[in-house]
Symmetry: C3
């Protein structure tokens, strides 16, 4: 592929040798001969001096004395997203239904659907046009999957779950497992299971990473809006509601019945307690524990900051004496006053 062809796809202008052959893309530091790279921020401009890349996608304002051929972009990151697809080796759907897929004759399978070996699809399931179901996936009774959605290998979707169009769901993810609902029976001295009879409903354009778990609801559905992206190993409790275009990073867990707004950014390793409301455009930094409703947009944090273990040991003692310390300072102040 030539630089000219790539620029044409992007609708962007070139400076330099447009006939250059481009074999792939890579980061500024990693790129080698024949590869196209990107300058995402002026701060990294120094790396351009040493790059072995063949060409660079760059803001015109950053391109002053750059010696390699340039594609001028007003938004190199968005153009990166578009170029990367050209070199993606992810095997596309083949439109075939494998003879070893196990499909109920009461399931409804759209046009041009691909289903791999050992997928199991139960009665009442509806698979939209152009969907691609990986090997070992399970779609329970009455599951519905909108057009052009793709399930990678070994995804499990329980009965009655509904997923919109253009979903991308990575391996190992589980949708519609029972919420964690038990009531303690004092007389019997044991926990009684509360059947989780509601469902999971997911909008369009959602991506779920590997080994995400989304529980079904007990007294209401668990609802994810459109354009939501969940990273690997995120857990979503029963009856949770997540607004459109919210992102949640890896290993975070959302307690039951919590409502998260739109355009939120939740860092990795975050815990959010059950049954609270978080408004739109809240940002939670990684490893934070959200213990109360967040009624205002903004950035929220908990934690102590990182230090050498020997320093931490000396300081953490003080944390357990903070109440006492406050009292002692108050006493010093009042003594001074008298």
């Amino acid at each position: 592929m030539t630089l000219a062809e790539i620029a044409a796809i992007l609708g962007l202008e070139i400076r330099g040798d447009a006939s250059l052959s481009i074999e792939g893309i890579a980061g500024l530091v990693e790129a080698g001969p024949g590869q196209l790279t990107f300058l995402f921020s002026s701060a990294y401009k120094k790396y351009l001096n040493d790059t072995r890349a063949a060409a660079v996608v760059i803001r015109q304002s950053d391109a002053g004395d750059v010696s390699i051929p340039c594609i001028f972009s007003e938004n190199p990151r968005l153009d990166w997203a578009r170029v990367a697809g050209i070199f993606d080796r992810l095997p596309g759907p083949d439109g075939q239904i494998h003879p070893r897929a196990e499909i109920s004759n009461k399931a409804s399978i759209g046009e041009k659907v691909s289903i791999s070996a050992n997928a199991v699809i139960e009665e009442g399931a509806r698979i939209g046009e152009g969907c691609c179901i990986g090997p070992g996936c399970f779609l329970g009774r009455n599951v519905s999957l909108g057009e052009n959605s793709r399930l990678h290998a070994n995804v499990s979707i329980y009965h009655e779950s509904r997923i919109g169009r253009n979903a991308i769901i990575h391996s190992g993810t589980v949708i519609g497992s029972d919420g964690f609902g038990f009531e303690f029976d004092q007389n019997a001295g044991k926990w009684v299971k509360i059947p989780q009879i509601y469902n999971v409903v997911i909008g369009d354009d959602v991506e779920l990473g590997a080994q995400v778990t989304i529980d079904r609801g007990a007294l209401k559905d668990t609802i994810l809006g459109n354009g939501i992206k969940l990273d690997n190993q995120v857990h979503v409790g029963h009856g949770v509601r997540i607004g459109d275009h919210t992102l949640i990073c890896a290993n975070s867990a959302i307690g039951g019945s919590t409502r998260i707004g739109r355009y939120c950014l939740i860092g990795g390793g975050v815990g959010i307690i059950d049954n609270i409301e978080i408004v739109d455009r809240v940002e939670v930094t990684p490893m934070t524990f959200v213990t109360k409703p967040l009624n205002e947009p903004g950035r929220y944090t908990s934690g102590t900051g990182l230090m050498k273990n020997r320093d931490w040991k000396r300081n953490v003692v003080g944390f357990a004496r903070l109440e006492e310390l406050l009292k002692r300072v108050r006493r010093l102040e009042s003594d001074k006053g008298s």
Copy 2:
């Protein structure tokens, strides 16, 4: 189903129109016409004014001026657990063994067992009466599963694991994987694997959420008692012992050889170090790190509390100066004394 029929199942009394048709259950806020709802706490009584529910399960003491039909319950949450089952659409076991299940002829399969397509059951496995094995499950050599246990899709159980009666195990869960045991060989400059030759033994009436991992032991079995409930993505290390009726919420991790008592409540995102003892009836709040044995029942916590990131940044500086701060206050106090 009529309100009278539901009340009869529960053995409870009705006030109002017993012939009312009930099509489902839902939360106070979510319930619509034809649905039965629940008043779990007097604190939510105000929502009853606006509910569109057809009827309510309620303590008689809360029902004074409630205008919709009531079922009187001394424990609405426990009765909820019983009613919910009526409306559960979870497909029941069909008692069939799918021709595409792969079952060793040296496995022992009880009466009325259901096994789905692509399940793999190895020699010596014993599956109790009434069990239900979902698609894609793996049961290794000599695994035993007590009566009426249910494995949802894509559960993996390693050789020699023993699981009691009435287990519910959700998709993706792994039981009996190797514990994390390595010894550093100074001469070779690398880690040597310690074979994990003990097993996992799980009691009766246990529920494991989706993507739980329970490792097998190195020098002793990993043992879970009766009535234990583990939420999604919980990790249990090798040789851990968990007492009866303990609950552990999502994304928590228990270090190897730790012993947790009975009737404990472990919140989500908790970490517990290896090789400690925690007595009965301990409660650990979410996202806490348990660093030492807990010898008394009670509630335990770590963490800083949540705040706006800009406030956190100003305060966290102080955490790293707590040792110094304690010293400065001591000096002020001693100067005052002199």
Copy 3:
């Protein structure tokens, strides 16, 4: 097996009855008649008085008045690793390819490879000699797996991933899923996916626990060196690089493009932000959040320490007043000075 035979395998000396029959190994406290136990540390010597074990692997210097037969070892933990294998009941590879395995005729399968039912292996995959692929595993297009590697049940490996020799990969683990890469399109008001076109490359002698996730890269490969051991439910982001012989404990998450050195020890439940460098021989204590590059070897920690919830509530108030407290102490000091 006799004690003499075990000692011969280890090349170690015996004191006591060498003809003793040994049926297994167990911990000091758990061991019963017929079992061999181990004294790993002089600190546990008191337990030897009460042990029911038949014999003990022990440092000669600790064995003074021990009454049961001894095998003398300079490193009882390393010898434990060697002995344990003798009693391991893990079913070995059978060298068979199951007729229900689904293998592309364009895949290359080495000698003595075992492949279980319902494994799916796509075109271009290369499986080295002696590998063992569990039931329900998926190996995508062009995946390569070095000699003598073992995948337990239900492992998913995306296209183009390369894994070295002697790998052990536990159930549910996912390798090569898409990194979490999105760019916000202001005009469209939604996230645009950045195709993750690079691969995962893993060295030799690596063990990955159950439900590990390792994402493929966007602008460079995700690279794990040799001898790395990852515990269950660890997440490794896209473009991460982990040095040889590093250990990461359960439920930890590593942010994208972060580089971790060799011989590091990362505790469980740790979070590490993206795009930082951590040098060799760093130790991170469990549940720590690593927020910045670590340029020196050593031990690092964050968190507040554990306490009773009622004490924590009184102290945590102080954390949110640390900035104020520092100011008040400064004022007291300056007042005193004047």
